[in-house]
């Protein structure tokens, strides 16, 4: 019956891993949404290796240990296969190594099952075993290396094979403590003298680890010692003392050891430093959030964004690709191992076996909970490995040795268990492990369901720019549907191309490193397909591909022909031009010089922000310039006054919208406060809206730049202006003010203003069509940094001429 149960469970694990492998093979096709891709195949080697080793391990146990627990081996094989494929998916080189180590682990498992059935060997040679472990760990002080070349030297290595002695040392400590306490406790009445040898042995281990700066393993040692002693003696004081000891050690570490302080700070508040020390944990939480309920699917997430995802952060990689559904199953499998381990312990036929089984279960439990909790920010991060799952030969080997010992202990029929004087410690241990798994499940739900969308919207979530490579972003079009920005290439290598780069300060850019700016940023939801698409489509695409649906094209009010003319006219001058439809507020031209070429952002991106000429700033909407005499054409609206008073000016400027921040889908400068008159600064856009009121019968229009979005279901949908036009003058007053500045033989008015209040003088040119103009009323504003009335006037008049040309 044991054989049947075990083989059936292993078969189910094989089904899971087979489906995982199939999905991983198909993953590139799903990502690029095309069948013409390079399918992933190398991990099938890992699956085959797992299948062979699982069969071997099953044959060994059914031959050598007929009455073993039938759940432990399938659970361990399930976890190690899942881990192996996850590692392979992250990096096939590591995957191959892990498969070889899994082979070593299963062979060690078989050898122990064959030679060590009588555990008295361990009991008798406990000092030699522990001594060997300590000696190997001591060797790392002198001969230690790190396979990655940097970091703590915790490994002993030769010829490309590395062993981390602190992993088997944990196991040897458990064996030693179980053997010693099982021998001594029943006879001894005196508590403390009995414990000196164990304190001494554990102390040496801990000091070695402290010298090695392997603080995570040192704290595991303290916990293992406390729990095993508690199990053996039933004295709750032991746990209390260990808890206090760990807290005191933590506090001392916090104040005197930098590593501990950073780890604790990062645990308490990772959001302060998401790009520095907290980078790993924040990225881990982002990965878990991206997993959501059922995960992105094997090969379909981006778990490699988390550093060292294959070892310390393998849990977050699994959470991203299998979601809450997968991690709950993972917790259940760990729970199964803990429960069966404790049952084997309670049914054991002597005290040594009982303590050993409980100790091994504790070792697996503490290690799993600490690193899962660390990935979930439930506990501070300790660099431990997830047993059976994470990359690492020493850890995998140790876990399989522990598994073999547990199976040997569970291999008995109807033997009367040794009497249990106080069962509370075992109930306590079971409750602690169960509570740990429940806490992990709740925290996992918190990150992957409740906080998921907030986390994924963070700008340091690189998955957004990864999605941009696979999903076509919408184009930005001018008013005649001429493309300004477009996405070119094919899925997997989509690239944003800026077809009219001179508009860069206005339309901005979208870039995986430098983020987004301008209209690319403010219209991102449409361009990315997250707005304007039916929510069912967005949900479905997220479920299938983990990406938003294809983006939507947005039509702008800009006129590329006029824009080109404006850019020529502004030339090398520093300044801005705004030309708008005075009636509708549609912006036809928005030029800002100097500008930059966003197609070359990879090369120039870093230096742009430091450029003293500020090419990134959209001077037309974000630049604030002193008004000076530019407001004079509006004075006539006040009636016959020689010099307007401050109150009159404030009222006028209020009407003109100089104190109002224009609302449109474009980053704009915040308007000046209301009490400012003499030193008032406005943006060219504000000035153009004010000028438009003179050409539009006293009505100040509401600005618009994004006109419409091309939805898949309803075609072009109008994006309305965000504010309402305001009647600020009567039509007669406005017409009079416009006519006052009319130019000879022209159908438009014009005015040159200047201001000197800041260190650089600025020149304004305001213009607009006259009331008797039959076509579309237009208004223009040219601003030049420096005293250059000729260029300003020429540019303004030329642009008006071009725009009013029939």
């Amino acid at each position: 019956m044991n054989d049947q149960r075990e083989s059936r469970l292993i078969a189910l694990a094989a089904v899971f891993l087979f489906l995982y492998s199939v999905i991983l093979t198909l993953a590139p096709a799903v990502r690029e949404q095309s069948l013409n891709v390079a399918f992933r195949l190398s991990h099938w080697l890992g699956f085959a290796a797992w299948l062979l080793l699982a069969f071997l391990a099953y044959r060994v146990t059914s031959r050598l240990l007929p009455d073993r627990d039938p759940y432990l081996l399938p659970s361990a094989l399930f976890l190690s296969g899942w881990g192996l494929l996850t590692i392979w998916r992250l990096d096939s080189g590591f995957g191959l190594r892990q498969a070889l180590w899994l082979g070593v682990g299963v062979i060690a498992f078989a050898l122990i099952a064959f030679f060590l059935k009588d555990l008295n060997f361990l009991r008798r040679y406990k000092y030699i075993l522990l001594g060997t472990g300590l000696a190997l760990t001591t060797l790392t002080l002198f001969l230690g290396t790190n396979p990655t070349g940097a970091g703590p030297r915790l490994w002993l290595g030769c010829c490309g094979v590395y062993l981390q002695p602190s992993e088997p040392l944990k196991l040897l400590l458990v064996v030693y403590l179980a053997a010693y306490l099982a021998d001594r406790l029943p006879t001894s009445l005196n508590f403390f003298p009995l414990l000196w040898p164990t304190i001494f042995a554990t102390g040496i281990g801990i000091s070695l680890l402290l010298v090695q700066r392997d603080l995570g393993t040192a704290s595991i040692f303290i916990m293992l010692y406390a729990v095993i002693l508690y199990l053996a003696t039933g004295r709750r004081r032991v746990l209390l003392a260990a808890t206090i000891g760990l807290i005191v050690a933590g506090l001392i570490g916090y104040f005197f050891i930098d590593v501990v302080r950073t780890r604790l700070d990062v645990w308490i508040n990772p959001w302060n430093d998401p790009t520095g020390h907290a980078y790993q944990i924040v990225q881990s939480l982002l990965a878990i959030a991206n997993g959501g309920t059922i995960g992105r699917g094997p090969g379909l997430g981006s778990p490699s964004l988390v550093p060292v995802a294959h070892s310390d952060f393998i849990f977050s990689a699994m959470a991203e690709e299998t979601g809450l559904a997968g991690t709950f199953g993972l917790f259940a499998i760990f729970g199964l191992i803990f429960a069966r381990g404790l049952i084997a312990s309670l049914r054991a036929k002597d005290r040594f076996r009982r303590l050993l089984a409980a100790g091994l279960t504790t070792y697996l439990g503490i290690q799993a909970l600490l690193i899962i909790g660390g990935n979930l920010r439930l506990f501070p991060l300790t660099g431990e490995t997830l047993p059976f799952v994470a990359y690492g030969g020493s850890s995998l080997l140790t876990a399989f040795v522990a598994l073999a010992l547990l199976l040997i202990i569970s291999n008995q029929t109807d033997v009367e268990p040794v009497p249990l004087p106080s069962p509370q410690p075992y109930f306590f241990l079971a409750a602690a492990l169960g509570l740990g798994l429940i806490a992990a499940s709740l925290t996992n739900t918190w990150w992957s369901v409740i906080r998921s969308s907030d986390l994924l919207a963070r700008t340091d979530n690189a998955r957004r720019s990864i999605a941009d490579r696979y999903v076509k972003r919408g184009s930005l079009l001018d008013r005649n549907n001429q493309p300004i920005d477009a996405t070119e290439g094919s899925s997997g290598s989509y690239k944003r191309v800026y077809l009219y780069p001179e508009l860069a300060p206005v339309v901005g850019y979208t870039h995986p490193i430098f983020g987004q700016a301008g209209l690319e940023a403010s219209l991102d939801d449409y361009l990315r397909g997250l707005q304007g698409n039916p929510s069912s489509l967005i949900w479905w695409d997220h479920l299938l591909y983990g990406t938003p649906p294809p983006g939507l094209d947005v039509r702008l009010s800009l006129d590329l022909e006029l824009q080109q003319r404006a850019d020529q006219l502004l030339g090398k001058s520093t300044g801005a031009i705004v030309l708008l439809n005075a009636q509708t507020g549609e912006i036809l031209v928005m030029a800002s010089h100097p500008n930059y070429d966003p197609n070359k952002l990879n090369e120039i991106g870093a230096s742009l922000a430091k450029d003293s000429t500020a090419p990134l700033v959209n001077r037309a909407a974000q630049g604030m310039y002193p008004v000076g005499t530019a407001a004079v054409p509006f004075y006539s609206t006040l009636g016959e006054v020689n010099a307007p008073s401050t109150q009159q000016l404030q009222a006028l400027f209020e009407k003109l919208g100089f104190y109002t921040t224009p609302q449109l889908s474009l980053p704009v400068a915040i308007a000046a406060p209301r009490d400012e008159t003499a030193n008032l600064q406005v943006s060219p856009l504000q000035m153009a809206l004010a000028a438009a009121s003179l050409s539009n019968s006293g009505m100040r229009p509401a600005p618009r730049i994004a006109l419409a979005v091309n939805t898949s279901q309803q075609g072009w949908v109008i994006l309305p202006a965000q504010t309402q036009p305001v009647q600020i003058f009567s039509a007669d007053v406005a017409a009079a003010a416009a006519l006052q500045n009319s130019l000879q033989n022209k159908i438009y008015w014009g005015w040159i203003g200047s201001a000197n209040s800041t260190k650089t003088p600025v020149t304004w040119y305001l213009g607009g069509t006259l009331p008797n103009w039959q076509g579309t009323p237009l208004a223009v504003v040219v601003l030049i940094e420096g005293n250059n009335p000729f260029t300003a006037q020429y540019a303004g008049q030329e642009l008006m001429r071009a725009a009013t040309k029939p």
């Binding site: 489906l19 199939v22 999905i23 198909l26 096709a29 799903v30 499998i333 479920l543």
Partner: protein
């Protein structure tokens, strides 16, 4: 299209995971149920033994556990302080809905109704047991049965 296919595979994969977990839990639950059934309080009909002392008086003892040992050892349920009785002389046990008597390889043997006992034999009401020179009478009360303590 491929996306929907892979979505179906992803759901199947999750299903495989939970069938693994669910099947493990189900079989464990079956085990627990079976163990529970075995440990359910079985009703054992009370057995009353009258031990005849040398001066012809009878001391009566009633038992409700499924196993009763007789012998000279003080650990025995029925203490027979008599030189011809072995330390652990005989055993009464209840199984297969019957009380059985069996001799524990005693020196002087056990007789049931004056017949020497070689194998375990079913007892009936009023049977007379002889262990060495000690004599006991069995009375099986069918009406006052007592549940044994639940042992898990």
């Amino acid at each position: 299209m491929i996306g929907a296919l892979v979505l179906a595979l992803r759901l199947l994969m999750v299903l495989a995971l939970y069938v693994f977990v669910g099947w493990a839990i189900w079989t464990i639950a079956q085990d627990v149920k079976r163990t529970g059934l075995q440990a359910m309080p079985r009703r054992v009909p009370a057995i009353r033994l009258e031990v005849w002392t040398q001066n012809g008086q009878a001391v009566s003892q009633a038992f409700s556990q499924p196993e009763v040992t007789l012998g000279r050892d003080p650990a025995c349920d029925v203490l027979l302080d008599e030189e011809t009785v072995s330390a652990r002389h005989a055993r009464l046990s209840y199984h297969h809905n019957q009380w059985w008597l069996e001799d524990l390889e005693s020196t002087n043997g056990t007789s049931l109704n004056a017949t020497r006992l070689n194998t375990a034999t079913v007892l009936t009401n009023g049977d007379e047991i002889q262990c060495g020179k000690a004599r006991l009478t069995v009375s099986l009360g069918n009406n006052d049965t007592l549940p044994i303590a639940q042992k898990l």
